[in-house]
C-alpha cells in the first residue's frame, strides 16, 4: 500500500505522513508529563546549597577554635523539621584529623565529613579520638574506617566490593576568618557518594 504511494510521490505517501503526524502529536501531547516524574524523588533531600557548618551547640564551626583530633555530629541538609533532621541519613561525622595526619593545619586538608551510616548494615558509626584508635568504628559489627580517606579497613564493610567500602563525604570551603562552609554535594558514587551505599575512592 505504502509502496504504491512512494512510487507515485517519490517520497513519503500521504497516508504515512499523516501517521507520522499522528505519532508526533501523541508524543507532544504527553511530553509535558515527563517532568512530572520529578514528583517521585523527595525534594527535601534534593535542594542543596552552600551552608555553614553548624555544630550541635549551635555555633558556626571555625578552624581557629575547633579542637584537633575531635569530631562532632552535624546535620546536612538541615530542613528545620526536627523529626526529619533526627534521621540517620542526614547525620555526618565532622572530624578534625589528629596532628600526625595534618590536623594542625588550618586548611581543607585538616577536616573531613563522612556520612555516619555504616556501609555494612546502616548502623551509626562514630570517630574515636583515643590513642591507638583514631578511627571510625561501627558498634554493630565492628567495621572500622580510616579518618583520612573514609575507606573501611577492617570488619564487614571492608570486604564489600567498591564502592560499598568507602563512606560518602562532604566538601568544604574555609573563608578568611576560618569559618567552615559545606559546598553543595553531588550524591553520586563518582562524586560525593551515595549515602548508605558508598563512593569510589
Amino acid at each position: 500500500m505504502s509502496e504504491v504511494g512512494t512510487k507515485k510521490s517519490g517520497g513519503l505517501s500521504r497516508r504515512d505522513f499523516l501517521k507520522l503526524m499522528g505519532a508526533a502529536g501523541t508524543g507532544l501531547a504527553f511530553a509535558p508529563f515527563v517532568p512530572f516524574g520529578n514528583f517521585m524523588p523527595n525534594p527535601n533531600q534534593a535542594s542543596l546549597e552552600k551552608v555553614p557548618v553548624i555544630l550541635p551547640d549551635g555555633t558556626h564551626a571555625n578552624m581557629n577554635t575547633y579542637p584537633i583530633n575531635h569530631s562532632e555530629v552535624i546535620t546536612y541538609p538541615s530542613t528545620g523539621d526536627p523529626a526529619l533532621d533526627a534521621e540517620a541519613f542526614r547525620k555526618w561525622q565532622f572530624i578534625r584529623l589528629p596532628e600526625e595526619f595534618g590536623g594542625a593545619n588550618k586548611d581543607l586538608n585538616a577536616i573531613r565529613a563522612y556520612s555516619m551510616i555504616c556501609l555494612h548494615l546502616w548502623c551509626l558509626w562514630k570517630y574515636w579520638p583515643d590513642d591507638g584508635r583514631k578511627r571510625g568504628e561501627c558498634p554493630c559489627h565492628g567495621s572500622m574506617y580510616s579518618p583520612t580517606t573514609g575507606t573501611a579497613f577492617a570488619g564487614p564493610a571492608s570486604v564489600q566490593a567498591a564502592p560499598s567500602n568507602t563512606l560518602p563525604r562532604l566538601d568544604f570551603e574555609i573563608d578568611s576568618d576560618g569559618f567552615v562552609f559545606i559546598l553543595p554535594p553531588k550524591f553520586d558514587v563518582n562524586q560525593n557518594g551515595v549515602i548508605g551505599y558508598g563512593r569510589f575512592a
Binding site: 533531600q45 534521621e87 558498634p139 554493630c140 559489627h141 565492628g142 564487614p156 566490593a161 558514587v189 551505599y197
Partner: protein, 532 residues
Amino acid sequence: MAVSLDRRTGVVALLYWIWDGIDRTIFAGIKFSFPARFVSPFGFLGMLTFIVFIILGVSGALLMFYYQPILDRAWDSVQFINDDVPFGFHIRNIHYHGSNAMVLLAILHMYYQFFSGRYKIRNEILWMTGVILGVVTILEAFTGYDVIFSERAELAISIAASLTTSIPVVGPTIRDAALGSGFSDFVLRFYAQHVFLLPIVMIGLMAVHFPRFLVFDVPMVMAISGAILITGGVFPIDMGFKFEPTVPPGVTVPEWYLTGIYAFMRTQYDKFVTGLLWPLIFIASFVLIPFIDRYKKFSWRERPIVTAFGITSLAQIMVTTYWGFYISPDVSIPLVERLVIDPIFFYSTMILMVPLGFGFTYMMIKLANEAERKSKLAKSNGPQKVATINLSEKWINWLLIALLAFQVFLNIAAYNASLTGMKNISLFFIGVILLVFAAFFHVYRYAMSQQKNAPPPPPALVPDEIPKLVESDVPKPSELDVPKPSELDKDVSGEKSEPKELSDIPTPKVQADVKVDANNNTNLGSEDLKKP
C-alpha cells in the same frame, strides 16, 4: 420464616434472580467446578494461592486501621496491634503466616505446573504472567515485613536500597524515585507499595493469569486456612526489636524466601551481580522455558532435560535457602568470617548441583518407568482391588453430629483461651475448627454423593426382563416411575392397578441393574478416566 428450596418464592427467588443475572457478568466466562469428591490439591494450587491472597487482603485492610507508617511510630503501632488491640494478635498472625503460605503455595503451584508441562498448548501467556506474578508476590511479602521497622526490617531495607542503587546507570535515580532518600521516606513508600501499588499490579496480572476453568474445593480451602491459623498458634510471630541506629542489632537473616539471594550476597562479590543479576537470570530462564522446551510430550518422564533443569533449580533453591540461614554458631571466630561465605566453595557447590540434579532426574525416570512396567504386569494378572471406606447412612449421621459437637467445644475453648490471654492457643483452636469444618464438609459431600448413588425407588415394573430395557441406552425417568400397560401385561398377568405391592419384584442391588455406567453416571470425576 419457612423457606423451601424446592419452590422459587421469596428469598429463594431473589437468590435465583441474582444467580441468573451473573450470566451477564465476566464470571460467566469462568467455569467454576465444585468437586463432589476428594481431588488432589496439586491441580488447584493456584486457586488456593488466590484464596490466601484474599485472606491477606482482608486481614491487611484490618491492620491498616491501626498501623502508622511513620519512622518512629511504625514499630510501636505494630506492638499496639499485637498486644493491646482485641484480636489484633490473631489478625497480625493470620496476615504474617498467610504471606508465608501464599509464597509457598505459589512456588509449589509453579513447580507442579512446570513438571507436568502445563505451560505448553498455548498456555505460554498464563505461564509467563504466572512467573512474574510469583516475583511480585515475593516483593509484596518483602515490603510487608519491612514496614514493621524492626531491626530485621531495617537490615532488609538497607539491602533493598543498596541493591537498587547498585543497578548500573539508572540505579540511584530509581532508588530516589521509588524508595526515597531517608528512613522516613522508606517506611512511608514501602507502605504505599505494600498496600496499594503491588497488590494492584498483582490483581492486574491475575486478570491475565486466571484460566477459564477453576476448581473451588471447599474442604481444601478450609484446610489451608486452618493450617495457616495453626501455624500462627504454634509459631506466633514475634515483634523483633525496635530499630535504633546506635544499638548493635542481633545477627538476623531475611525471611525464608529471600535467604537464597542473601546467601549469594554473603559471598561479598559485587552487589548488582550477586543480588540482582543472578536472580534475574534465574527468573528469566523460568519465564522463557515454554520456548526452550521443545518436547512434544507433557509428562515429566518424557521430558528428561527439562525435568532435570527443574530438579537442579529446586536443589539450588533449597541449598542456597539453607545456606543463607546458616551462620556458624561459634562466636569465637570473628563475625566477618561467620557472615562471609567463601565464593569459591559456594559457586563450586552450585555447579556441582547440575550433574547431581541431572543424575537424580535420570534415576527417578528409570525408577518410575520400572514401577509402571511392574504395575502393568501386576494388572494383567488380575483386577486390582482399591481400598475404599464405605460408611452407612447411620454412621455418617453420627460422624456429622460428633464433628459438630467438637466444633462447638472448640469454639468455646477458643473464645475462652482468647479471654484468658492465651492468644496463640486461641488461634490454634480456631485453626483446628477450620480443619474440623473441612472434615465436616467432606463427610457431608460424601453423604450427598452416596445419596445420589443410592438406587432409585423400587422401579416396580422394571423387572427381571433386562433385555427389554437394553433397547434404549439410558433409561428414561418415565420408564422407571410410571408403569406402562404393555409391560404390566407382560409381567403381571391381569393385574394393572397395584403393581407396587408386588413383593417378588427384585429391587436393583447394584448400579448395573439400573443401567448406570460410566457413560451416564453423574457422579464420576475426571480422575476416574483411565490413565494413559
